[in-house]
Symmetry: C2
Subunit: 410 residues, 2 copies
């Protein structure tokens, strides 16, 4: 009867058709938020030398068996190239990050000593027990020359950018960002700023798609709202075919199928699938023309949002060299019974949070595709197979979609 | 002996000194990633009318007791303003999103019917059981006119931006972004591109700070690397005092304290605290001059990073109207014993992930402040009080810092 494909199959087809975008060299600061297109190996040991981890005095540990008093022989600042020869019972005032001179093996912090002058000589008294090697950072203890520090395909966040800087790398090879065209469709859908007449609503899908494209590294462009007629739809789609990805929302519902697919055929878009056995978002279309992937997402804001996260996100990430599309997952205790009585697998919007030393998973009450507040008031998804039933109190694994809910939000 | 303040006290002081930046109106697309400075109430019910949730046929449910065959009386597309009068035993072909005409109360999906022509009339036969009210979205079921949809201070992500669009709002009041100046310090610290001599390292702190400032909504500017002398330090700090926040890395270690604090005094920076009883990052300075908050973070990349997350992040967020600074938390099972033998509270870098249906928390092996790979290879923090000891297998609550580790990363 219906020609639905499974959700897993849909992802498989999307990924099969997705090709990696090109690469480009960018300045290190511009590499932030990009996916790296080269392996980064360390050019040197880090630390590059045995250095002091504290401001204090470098001593030879064995001297402690004879004395707690050391004469300050010299001072070494960080970055200074200075040769100081070891002499029994003498110490060197040394700053954090400075190279430990030959013969010294332990650093005692300023605050664990008392400085005084005796016979015109600056001396220290050691006030605390220390261990051999204390406050010394060994050469290469962070990473060693030749270590693979960043794997090709890694997302460069502030931490990775700092590592690139640490290695002294000025230009970074990254994957190009896919360009994504966004089209809303529907005679009832109006642009913000226009006056609504009875039966009309504002376009919100273009905005959620815009935000999601940016989040996952693409370059979004809102192309406009196509009317439910061939001429209008054709005009907008043709505008979008120069992009790497073209996303229509509200495009290919049951009743619009014939005319939309006619338009696709006329334009030369090859259909890969239409309709996925998943809720929300069954009437999802996927096709291709040349390099351009075309997604026809359902019109409901919830379906559009979830299907973008599930099907478009992997494509955008793969175009940027990413290989693993898993989300951050949490095991939690289900706070109320859930059951998938439908004929398709389902993604329930849930809240996952810590309460009384447990991770609890609270299914959002309104799960209908028409209820967009189910997106902003939740932070995760629970995948329920067709017919699956889970009791309150049982363990479930959920995917976290908005881990900032309790931090950035409110 | 030492004049350390507690970590909680440090945060309290920072927040007390932090003032909210101004507000500005921006176009909706520019509101993405900003913090909203107004409450958003719904201007109308959503859906604004009783509408069809599917492409199908609207019927009156009670008619089903007489017949499974309905004559198609008319068609209604979404966005159409059309009055169709109810007649017993007749149905209306209706598209998703279209207004349900008076007298009809249930929609049967296309795929659950069979259309045929009888005596020149288009008719349908209903093939499936349906419930009264099925496939109807009630007026206001998502939100009602006057509902508080977005609270002042909320971070606008793609979901919230879609809600703003849904309400037809074109201009959004948001908090201004704080401007943040970044200064590295140290004679041993070199700019990328320069040649390293023995004992020197590249500046990486400016880059991690740059990325973190951007992540939390600020506008970063790298001002350069100050030398360890008064003149150089003064020159850089004065450059940065027009910013809302000025961050120095490697500035105020034990051995540099006197000269740095002298410079601060000369410039007129009021010291609020120096040294926090926390690991990593004890020698953290906080002061203020006029509107500008000055943070002196430790020189070690790990200490800089963690102290930024712990002390600077709340300030940047508060400047943008945020009230709650909690992170996303997860309860997990500790994978190995931990013990804080030090004299300060400690933040351990950990990996939290799902394994065998449990959230496990793996403390990173190298916890020294000199090991920056402990930042990029972990995704969370475990806060250990001074003297606290937790056994393998016990439950701990961790803060998630990089929930993208298993999704965006690699």
């Amino acid at each position: 009867m219906e020609n639905l494909i499974s959700f897993e199959k849909a992802i498989e087809i999307v990924l099969k058709e997705t090709k990696i975008c090109g690469v480009e060299k960018v300045d290190i600061l511009k590499s932030l938020g990009r996916f790296i297109a080269e392996d980064i190996f360390s050019p040197f040991d880090m630390p590059p030398f045995k250095r002091s981890a504290m401001d204090g005095y470098a001593i030879k540990f064995d001297d402690l068996s004879n004395t707690k008093i050391f004469e300050i022989k010299d001072e070494i600042k960080a970055g200074e190239e200075k040769i100081v020869e070891y002499e029994k019972g003498k110490c060197v005032l040394i700053m954090t990050g400075a190279k430990i001179p030959e013969g010294f093996d332990t650093v005692i912090k300023f605050e664990d000593t008392e400085e005084f002058v005796e016979e015109g000589k600056r001396k220290i008294k050691i006030l605390k027990e220390i261990k051999k090697g204390e406050n010394i950072a060994e050469k290469g203890e962070d990473f060693k020359k030749g270590d693979l520090l960043i794997k090709k395909g890694t997302f460069i966040d502030s931490g990775y950018m700092a590592i690139i800087a640490y290695c002294g790398i000025k230009k970074v090879l990254v994957y190009k960002k896919p360009e994504v065209g966004i089209i809303a469709t529907g005679d009832e859908v109006k642009k913000i700023g226009e006056k609504l007449r009875e039966g009309e609503i504002y376009d919100c899908n273009s905005y959620s798609i815009y935000g999601l494209v940016l989040k996952y590294g693409g370059i979004p462009e809102i192309l406009g709202i196509a009317k439910d007629n061939k001429r209008s739809l054709k005009r907008y789609i043709e505008k979008g075919l120069e992009k790497d990805i073209l996303i229509l929302s509200g495009g290919v519902s049951e009743g619009k199928y014939d005319f939309v697919v006619d338009v696709f055929k006329e334009i030369g878009i090859e259909m890969k699938f239409w309709k996925v056995a998943v809720k929300p978002g069954k009437p999802t279309f996927f096709g291709k023309k040349g390099k351009t992937l075309i997604f026809g997402l359902p019109g409901y804001p919830v379906s559009t949002y979830i299907n973008f996260e599930n099907l478009v996100r992997p494509a955008i990430l793969k175009m940027q060299g990413k290989k693993n599309f898993d989300r951050f997952k949490v095991v939690g205790i289900l706070a109320s019974d859930v059951e998938n009585k439908g004929d398709r697998d389902e993604f329930l919007r849930i809240i996952v949070k810590v309460e009384n030393d447990e991770n609890i998973v609270i299914p959002f009450k309104k799960q209908k595709s028409g209820v967009f507040t189910s997106i902003v008031n939740t932070n995760g998804l629970l995948y329920l197979k067709k017919g699956q039933k889970i009791k309150k109190g049982e363990k479930v694994i959920v995917s976290v979609m908005r881990s900032d809910l309790v931090s950035i939000f409110t």
